[in-house]
Every structure is written in structure tokens, then in C-alpha cells.
């Protein structure tokens, strides 16, 4: 209880005074956040720079080319029963990913309530949504490749379209895939009771604890967050 109290935030000054107090406390600077969570945040920050640089490279080549950029609204249209729906597949992918973010948030919530069954079910549902997203992305890739899009050329306009498309969505899809694998591992840990029994993990030997679900959730929400930017800047722009 004492250690728990140490980490509660009530005893510490809030706001800017808190920032100064935390950084000058001659202990760890990030109060209330374990090192595991802090490191995940720092990793996500570095990932932000990677995706940020991809997106601004895309902005640079798109803004500096004299050749017309292919219209994403038409390129990513889906024809159903003779009618063309602009960006339909992308819209579905967006909704699937947001759904998965919601189920992940609920999983974290139930994890801290020590509800093993609901937590496992929600994590598996999140992984299922993620797998569905990757599946739809594979479909989209093969459709575009079939239509003649390559990293160096495409039938509709600026050659840079393919290079940026495959790099950005490919890197994001890889993140989703890694996330799905990570979620399956965490789901197994929760289901077996590893987190309740604080059983050491096979890879790091660290004791299982329910915060692992929240840290896994941070990564998953970040993947959704990146998609928000890709959706807006690549598909809608």
C-alpha cells in the first residue's frame, strides 16, 4: 500500500510547478508512470519521427512534381454492383481500425478490473480487427499492383505515387502485423493467468503484471493514430 501511495498523484504539485518538481526531484522524472510505460512512450516518439519523415517526404515529392498526382479518390474507389464508391475500402479499413482501438481501450479497462475472461476476449477481438485490416490492405495492394502500380511508375500520373504509397502503407501494415502478434502473446498471458500469478515472461524473465496490457494498448492506439494521419494526408488530400 505504501508503494502504491508513493505513486498516486495526489501528493505531488500539479501543472508547471509539478514539471519543475518532477524533473528536479533527484529521482526518476516521470512520476506515476513505470519505466516500462515510459519506454514505450519514448519508443512511440521515435516511431512518430519515422512516420513523420515518411509523410513529409511524401508531401515534398507531391508538391514539387510537375506531373499531375493520381486522384486517390478514384484510384481507391471500389466498384460494387456497377456503382463506384470513392475510397470505400479505405473507409471500411478506417472504421475497422477505430473499432479495434475501442476494444483495446476496453481490454485495458477490464485488465485493471482483473477480469481475465473479458480482457482476453477483448484483446482477441482487437487482434481479429487488426488481422482483418491487414487482409484488406493486402487486397488493396494486389489490386493496385494488378492495375500496374509500381514504386517507379503507375498508369495515372506522377511516378512518385507508387513509391510513397508502398512505403507508407507498407510500413504501417508491418506495424499492425507486429501489433497483432504482440496482442496474441498478451492474450495468452492473460488467459493463462500469468499476470495474476506474476509469472516471469519467457523472453525477458520479468514478472507478469496487468500493466502489460496497458503498454500493449499504447502501441496499438499508436498504430491507429498513425492511420488517422495517413488517411487524412494520403487518401483524402
Amino acid at each position: 500500500m505504501n508503494t502504491a501511495l508513493l505513486h498516486t498523484q495526489a501528493a505531488r504539485p500539479p501543472g508547471w510547478r509539478g514539471v519543475v518538481a518532477d524533473w528536479s526531484s533527484d529521482q526518476r522524472a516521470f512520476k506515476g508512470a513505470s519505466w516500462g510505460k515510459t519506454m514505450m512512450w519514448i519508443f512511440l516518439l521515435s516511431d512518430t519521427f519515422i512516420f513523420g519523415c515518411f509523410l513529409l517526404a511524401y508531401m515534398t515529392v507531391r508538391a514539387s512534381t510537375t506531373v499531375a498526382w493520381p486522384n486517390p479518390s478514384e484510384v481507391f474507389a471500389l466498384e460494387i454492383a456497377g456503382t463506384n464508391f470513392p475510397l470505400l475500402l479505405i473507409a471500411i479499413m478506417t472504421f475497422v481500425l477505430i473499432s479495434s482501438s475501442g476494444t483495446m481501450a476496453m481490454a485495458v479497462n477490464y485488465a485493471y478490473r482483473r477480469d481475465r475472461v473479458k480482457t482476453t476476449a477483448l484483446i482477441l477481438l482487437t487482434a481479429l480487427f487488426g488481422a482483418a485490416f491487414v487482409g484488406m490492405q493486402a487486397f488493396e495492394w494486389s489490386k493496385l499492383i494488378h492495375e500496374g502500380v509500381r514504386p517507379w511508375e503507375n498508369p495515372w500520373g506522377a511516378a512518385q505515387f507508387g513509391a510513397t504509397f508502398f512505403t507508407i502503407t507498407g510500413f504501417h501494415g508491418t506495424h499492425v502485423t507486429i501489433g497483432v502478434i504482440m496482442l496474441l502473446i498478451v492474450a495468452r498471458k492473460v488467459w493463462r493467468g500469468d499476470l495474476d500469478q506474476e509469472r516471469p515472461g519467457g523472453l525477458t524473465g520479468r514478472r507478469g503484471r496487468y500493466e502489460m496490457v496497458e503498454i500493449a494498448g499504447l502501441y496499438w492506439h499508436f498504430v491507429d493514430l498513425v492511420w488517422v494521419f495517413i488517411f487524412a494526408l494520403f487518401y483524402l488530400w
Partner: protein, 123 residues
Amino acid sequence: MAAAHAAAHSASHSASPTAHEGQQHPVRVYLVVWGWLFVLSLFSYLVDYFHLQGVLRWGLILLFMGLKAALIVAVFMHMVWERLALALAILLPPVAVLVFAALMAIESEHTLWMRQTFLGVGD
């Protein structure tokens, strides 16, 4: 809201013998944010569906993008409940990316101008 959270926190701490540094908040908060994310995504899709153009188009796209990103980071990733020291350490550095983007926007304008002027392409 703050009082409710404080109560929830103390309840969770006294309820579990091994209290971790967990974040626990009412389920309703998550559901409301979840709903808003769907609504905002629908709005951004409609921007494309109705073929809005010009300032209105990219203004709305950026607005909905920013709101969605803020909701995900603040609530789903619990940043609004973390200490300000952590929030600043994580949220301030990406400003450098925005500066970089601004520099490259200027740079690409210049490149485009050079190509149009000296390569005799485009108009």
C-alpha cells in the same frame, strides 16, 4: 469528473492487494470517445464523398484529423491523466517534425518553380 476519478483511483487501490500504477477510468469515458472517433471518421469520409475542394477541403480534413489524434492520445492513451512532465517530454518533440515539414514545403515550392522555369515542363 476529477472527484469521480479520484474516488475510482482510491477504490482500485484499496480493492487490489497489489496495487500497480494502473490507469482506471469509467467505461463511459471510453465509449463516448469511441463514438466521437466514428463520427469524426464519417465526417472526414463525407468531405471526400461530397467532393469539397480548396480551403474548405483541407481545412476540414486537418480539423478532423487533429481532433481524432487528440482524442486517441488524450483518452485512449491516457495522456490527459499522466503527469505534465511526461506529456511535455512526449508531445513537444514532434513539433520539430512540423518545423521540418514547413521547411520542406518551402523547399518543394522552390523545386517546383525551378523545374517549371528551367526544365520547360508543366505550366
